[in-house]
């Protein structure tokens, strides 16, 4: 339906990225490293963006329709926030899916959904117990790390799935993640603007 609007454009940069070897011991390692960074910046700015938008459109649509049909009319605020959370999760997932599993954060996002579904079936008490023990550990082991390392840890917490990742990999992941987030924000803004433009007209015609 919507996909027919967008021709499936295969990103040439991405296919060449797949050919990139994992471990390179020659002088090409430097060239590869540079290419990785440049590609991660470029690939989030291509036509694939529109494919992402199309998928997001369809999915968020279905999801919200399902949820709003089941929930009642009273909880208006909760509905909005719940729907917002869902849409955000959906958007993140579609973003991660579009990364084609090449980056760590994308795999973490996709995996977290599975984990969240499993946790739902478990009791809530267990999770709180784990949290407490984790907090106690951090209190006792408080050693002042140097500023840079502290900030690197914070960055690791921000990028999904990159808490215990080495520094150069973390920086790579952060680069790709930032590029992807920028693209996501642009897509959602575009979508929102188009909808706000269309909305007044539809409400006018509806009522």
């Amino acid at each position: 339906m919507v996909e027919s609007l967008f021709p499936s454009i295969e990103n040439t940069g991405e296919s060449s990225r797949r050919k990139k070897p994992r471990i390179s011991e020659t002088a090409e390692a430097e060239i590869e490293a540079r290419r990785v960074n440049e590609e991660s910046l470029k690939r989030w700015k291509t036509n694939r963006v529109q494919q992402i938008y199309a998928c997001k459109l369809v999915e968020a649509l279905r999801r919200v329709r399902q949820r709003s049909s089941t929930t009642s009319n009273n909880e208006t605020d909760k509905l909005v926030s719940g729907a917002a959370r869902e849409i955000r999760d959906t958007a993140d997932r579609v973003l991660a899916a579009s990364a084609r599993g090449t980056t760590r954060w994308s795999r973490a996002i996709l995996a977290s959904r599975v984990r969240a579904k499993l946790k739902k079936h478990r009791k809530a008490k267990k999770s709180t117990g784990n949290c407490k023990s984790r907090k106690g550990l951090t209190e006792t082991n408080r050693i002042k790390l140097p500023a840079v390392e502290r900030k690197l840890k914070i960055l690791g917490r921000l990028v999904p799935g990159c808490r215990k990742v080495s520094v150069p990999n973390l920086l790579d992941e952060a680069t790709d993640y930032i590029a992807a987030l920028e693209m996501q924000v642009q897509a959602m803004e575009a979508l929102a603007e188009l909808l706000t433009a269309a909305a007044p007209r539809t409400t006018l015609t509806g009522t």
């Binding site: 960074n37 329709r65 958007a91």
Partner: protein, 341 residues
């Protein structure tokens, strides 16, 4: 005299068990010899000084001619010298395969040093850099040979990767003493003047340069990172930016949650061109907005060609139930007061 000295020490150089002291001694001797030789020849040839002061020009032909002149004056080296300077031109451009071999023949050691010295100078000239004082170059050569011996004797796996990256990183820099030496198998690390050349510091340096290179990429992509110097400040900016982006996503998702009912009706409005046009507009104006007001960027974007949007083509995919529609419309009305500024 020179050859004798050379032959003695070069043999010891071949054996990998040579201690550091011995190596140092040998290298110092070579240095002295080189100095003598060069001073001798410089007394004879003003062209050598000319070459040494030659900078800024990338003209390979000129270099070649100057080298040939130098050959004529290097009478003390006999026929071997020509061989050494046969292809300086190619050596400048491609891999220096000469340095791969462990074995340094006694007669050719000085040649090697000279040749590498010349090549270093040539590469330096090619890089448009003022040629260093002779001693500095020789010290570089000394360290290069040291490192060569080390790398060739060590395990090739990890150290090669590190050396690869280290030298490839140093080759990008314009700092003194950094020149690109590529090989088929592995790459020699070029230690700069006054820096340690043991394995650990080399590895550390390679790692640090990798990290700084990646930070530079991040600096390019994060707006406002250019003003801050130092890793901590840059990391602050990066963290701030990521948090901004995530907050934006949340806000936009909330907005979309509200607007979702209209999604179905308006879905056919979107065409490829409109979306692309929107993207270019957004991308152009995005950078300036992001830094100042992260939370509500939409309010500042006045330049949207909404006129291009054609709302007439509305097709209902599934007929929404009336109750659901009224509910969502009420939602929209109530929340629109909060969102619009």
């Amino acid at each position: 005299m020179l050859e004798g000295l050379v032959s003695q020490e070069s043999l010891s150089l071949n054996s990998m068990d040579m201690s550091v002291l011995e190596r140092l001694k040998w290298v110092q001797q070579q240095q002295q010899q080189l100095q003598q030789v060069v001073s001798q020849s410089s007394n004879n040839s003003p062209e050598l000084l000319q070459i040494l002061q030659f900078h800024g020009s990338n003209n390979d032909e000129l270099l070649q001619s100057s080298f040939s002149q130098f050959q004529m004056f290097g009478s003390g080296f006999g026929p071997n010298y020509n061989m050494g300077f046969g292809p300086p031109h190619e050596a400048m451009d491609e891999c220096i395969s000469r340095t791969s071999s462990c074995h340094m023949e006694p007669v050719d050691t000085i040649e090697v040093l000279l040749k590498t010295g010349e090549e270093n100078r040539a590469i330096a000239l090619k890089n448009k850099r003022k040629p260093e004082v002779k001693t500095r170059e020789e010290e570089k050569i000394e360290k290069k040979i040291k490192v060569e011996a080390e790398t060739e004797s060590s395990i090739k796996g990890k150290s090669n990767m590190r050396n690869t990256e280290a030298s490839s990183d140093t080759s990008k820099e314009t700092s003194k003493g950094a020149s690109e030496i590529q090989k088929l198998d592995y790459i020699h690390v070029r230690a700069r003047r006054g820096q340690a050349t043991d394995r650990h510091s080399l590895a550390e340096r390679a790692r640090r340069e990798k990290i700084s290179k990646k930070m530079k990429y991040l600096q390019d992509i994060v707006p406002g990172c250019n003003k801050v110097t130092g890793k901590a400040g840059m990391l602050d900016e990066i963290i701030n930016y990521v948090q901004c982006l995530q907050r934006q996503v949340e806000f936009l998702s909330m907005k979309l949650a509200v607007l979702n009912p209209e999604l179905e009706l308006a879905v056919e409005d979107v065409s490829v061109k409109q979306f692309q046009a929107y993207f270019t507009n957004v991308a152009a104006s995005k950078q300036s907005i992001m830094v100042d007001v992260p939370l509500f960027p939409l309010d500042q974007q006045g330049s949207l060609d909404l006129s291009a949007i054609n709302p007439n083509q509305t097709t209902s995919i599934e007929a929404p139930s009336t109750s659901w529609e009224t509910q969502s419309q009420s939602l929209y009305n109530t929340s629109s007061l909060g969102f619009q500024y």
